[in-house]
Symmetry: C2
Subunit: 342 residues, 2 copies
């Protein structure tokens, strides 16, 4: 069934029934002109992100379920990157009227799964038709007690990340080779039955065990909750566009430099293996690949922080020390919309 | 100059410099992962709306300035419709990389003009490239003391609107005939000099004085502040999709009916004249035309309300009484995305 056979009002009613939930901090939820929220005297964090078909995603590579999950994660990551607790979600969806109802439903299944994972409530949104590609927007509101900015890093602070870098970018490279949808959201058993997903579609030398973590990181990233180290952090940002571009932003805002060590950059064994099969440098993916949604933060060097130490904040020089000890200046390398740099 | 010659980071920096403003209720504004807001212990209203090229607007008919202004107004109208005071704006913009920088700048001029008009602060957003048409999203956060829902109308309440209906829909019909951009945002004197805007492009029998209010209502609508009557109102909605569809929504939520009188529906003299020249029924435009952004509300009949009385809330029947006293049942007629009904 197509969306044009159902209509906006019925779709809205279905969403409302599914997501409507009373909670002491939601006075009015879905279904009126705006949502009324009662933030318990706390400060409010708010972020918005768009995802555009043909720019941020390609429906030949990502399932609607994965897309819904990812849209939510990307926004949660922004709230976590400020040290906040995500809480209220608003969605904007523009889809072609010939879109299958199945696509719409699976998209919301993915949204729902992510909402449960992060403890969110959907409080509003907008549904529209699109004449061409799909456009999605999400706005996320969260609470903040201690709030962490991009500025705040001090000379001498250590630089940390919360996990492996480059996996998502490598997952994208793999998808470009595999050239089909990978429904990682269904069970391994179900997938094993699918003739469509035979091992032969993988680049030579790689198994599903090798590629699965990389594909998952790209298709259904999970945002990192900073609560275990937040009390020590002096500045923070999430790695959405790539380590070097996001570290540059943090340095710009903090008016400092940074020295990072190639040998300290966490790279998964799966990334090393897959990158080698693909003929790409793993460290290049780890430094410049986007969409890992790991957190990048700084903390004073005398604090014991449960995260991966990758370098130090300097007065102004911005350098990478490679494994042979050679120093190389870094500039912003990563994804920029409108495509000046890459 | 094209956006691709400037790049996202420079564009963001320009926006940040222009709109950054310290205010006691904004702890962190543009430029970090999320904005941090301090809502003075008040309740929070939040709404989001998308505008998609080819669906909500056509760049052959609306200037970037008008589009920016309208995007803000549409969202302000939702906050006003809840009885709130709009305050914080977030924008999502996806534009093709070959878009002229001039288009981007004029769009923000229109946004800025609207922000000044409504007293808003821009606190965040997202800029992205689009492979095809332009997509815009706005999220608006406001404060609420007394909050007015769509539910709340009681049998016997009177139904009011805040101004003329149908003007915006008629403006759109005119634009379809005129088939060009009308820069109503520039002064009459400037426009008088433009050879492009000669009177001969207007449908026969109409002057610029006739059409200007209609075009303005469509291209640069202003949302209605409900403060002068809010203390009496029992329910409220803004007329974005058309009187009948929005009144039906209010009735659905309030679980009541409505009786409205054709003779009471406020119709401008300009609409009457233009609709007659175009061969369209003015009352049909007033009942079913969208995007007027007037407020529709109910109040007890013993209250003196400064607005236009158009009918009464009934137990369940939903009827229009025409000028000859004939009763006709109304159902939802108006714009619905995915196009089941029109």
């Amino acid at each position: 069934m197509k969306l044009s056979q159902i209509g906006e009002l019925t779709l809205l009613e279905q969403i409302r029934k599914r997501f409507e939930k009373r909670s002491p901090d939601i006075v009015i939820g879905i279904g009126d002109d705006a949502a009324l929220l009662k933030p318990f005297k706390k400060n409010i964090l708010v972020t918005t992100d768009m995802m555009v078909e043909g720019v941020h995603f390609n429906m030949d590579f990502i399932t609607p379920y994965q897309l819904g999950f990812k849209l939510v994660s990307v926004n949660v990551s922004d709230i976590y990157a400020m040290g906040g607790i995500p809480r209220f979600l608003l969605l904007g969806i523009a889809m072609n009227k010939n879109t299958a109802k199945e696509t719409f439903d699976r998209f919301f299944d993915g949204v729902h799964e992510a909402m449960k994972h992060y403890g969110l409530s959907l409080v509003g949104g907008d549904i529209s038709s699109a004449s061409k590609g799909m456009s999605l927007s999400a706005t996320l509101i969260g609470y903040a007690e201690k709030c962490l900015k991009r500025s705040g890093a001090k000379k001498g602070d250590r630089i940390y990340v919360t996990g492996n870098l480059g996996d998502s970018a490598c997952g994208l490279e793999l998808l470009k080779k595999i050239k089909r949808l990978i429904p990682i959201e269904i069970s391994k058993e179900q997938r094993a039955k699918s003739k469509e997903l035979r091992i032969k579609m993988l680049p030579k030398g790689l198994t599903w065990e090798d590629v699965e973590p990389l594909l998952t990181r790209h298709l259904m990233p999970k945002a990192r909750d900073p609560r275990r180290f937040i009390r020590y952090a002096t500045s923070m940002i999430d790695i959405s566009d790539g380590l070097l571009i996001d570290l540059s932003r943090l340095c710009d805002e903090s008016k400092v430099g940074a020295r990072i060590y190639t040998k300290n950059i966490p790279v998964s064994s799966e990334l090393k293996k897959a990158a080698s099969c693909l003929g790409i440098s793993p460290i290049r993916l780890a430094l410049s690949g986007g969409e890992d949604y790991e957190l990048l933060f700084t903390a004073p060097r005398d604090k014991r922080v449960k995260a991966i130490y990758i370098g130090d904040i300097t007065e102004s020089e911005r350098v990478i020390i490679d494994t042979s000890g050679k120093k190389k200046t870094f500039s912003v390398e990563g994804y920029q919309h409108f495509g000046i740099q890459r």
